[in-house]
Symmetry: C2
Subunit: 199 residues, 2 copies
């Protein structure tokens, strides 16, 4: 009974933490990463600026935590036994994320910030990119063991070839990312890596 | 005789313009794009800040002009009749440029700035990316007409697949760009696009 009348500081903190992550994601989607400030996040989340600075050193750190925590669903790499279908499912999920204005805004903002801040660059690789690359390599390994992919290939190179064109369009703004792009990439890359093709 | 004693304002302006482009490139290489300021460029070039603002609205505009003017050499796409060798020559030139600290600093800086400024994004595509993509497409078209590349392919997609992995490593900092990477990309992509492979 006492528990319900005495505020639980941990629970209160967790609520504030979630409000701050929500605020950062919302504001980044509304006004781009460059316009995002610690003050703005504090105001939207209804907390003091000191609360934010107690937990995170920068807006990049807040967004990284939000991405890491909210982006867990894209950490499931499908394995139906059909490599092309599984890659299409996962890559389409990434393309759809890049098509979402909010997700695109914070992906582009973090990658932009990474160009002048090696700590952010390192954190993006460690907490966002690398875990996903590893899961894709594991899926490709199964295909390679099943004889569907040329045995001479370094699978990290194959992952790069599959995903780089999506990042290229996101960051260089040459053409919009699209689900059609996923089909194109898959048809070109799988023709080159399948084990019935000459090395 | 009079000409040598009367200063020629056009010639003086051109000298100042070149000094400003040099200063912008040098400073960007020394202290990253984020640290670059109009004040710093003016000081290094030995001109007034107003001179710079008369010609360019922003540091991004100066760097774009420098890149456009000084990067002309990478606008020659080789045509020796051997597609793989020609692609290797041109892509290795791009990889070497990305390996140069100065060129890498201003490429990353401009692309970072493009994420929050649509005008810079548009200028990067129009003045830097698109002219080079067009030349690569023209080289691939000759190969397609010669029957070396599958006739069903959209060559803009092939260009994207060839160059995107270089930009991916430059911008995401997963692994360093390298000439070896060019060999890897060529071996994977050409295996998929050659006309002796199944579509």
């Amino acid at each position: 009974m006492a528990a319900s009348s005495t505020p639980n500081p941990d629970r209160r903190s967790e609520r504030a933490r979630q409000a701050i992550l929500d605020a950062a994601l919302e504001l980044c989607g509304e006004q781009s990463y460059a316009g995002l400030t610690m003050e703005g996040i504090a105001k939207r989340a209804g907390v003091g600026k000191q609360t934010i600075y107690r937990w995170w050193p920068s807006k990049a750190a807040i967004l990284l935590e939000a991405l890491e925590e909210r982006g867990r669903s894209t950490l499931d790499f499908p394995d139906t036994g059909n490599l092309e279908a599984d890659l299409r499912t996962q890559m389409t999920q990434v393309a759809q994320a890049f098509l979402s204005p909010t997700f695109a805004a914070y992906s582009k903002g973090l990658i932009a910030a990474a160009q002048s801040d090696p700590a952010i660059a390192q954190a993006v690789v460690t907490s966002i990119i690398q875990p996903r690359v590893t899961l894709c390599i594991e899926r490709l390994q199964k295909a390679q063991q099943a004889g569907e992919i040329r045995p001479d290939l370094d699978l990290a190179d194959v992952v790069e070839l599959l995903y780089a064109p999506l990042y290229y369009r996101l960051l260089l703004h040459t053409r919009p990312v699209s689900p059609t792009q996923v089909d194109t990439i898959l048809s070109l890359v799988l023709a080159g890596v399948s084990s019935d093709k000459q090395p």
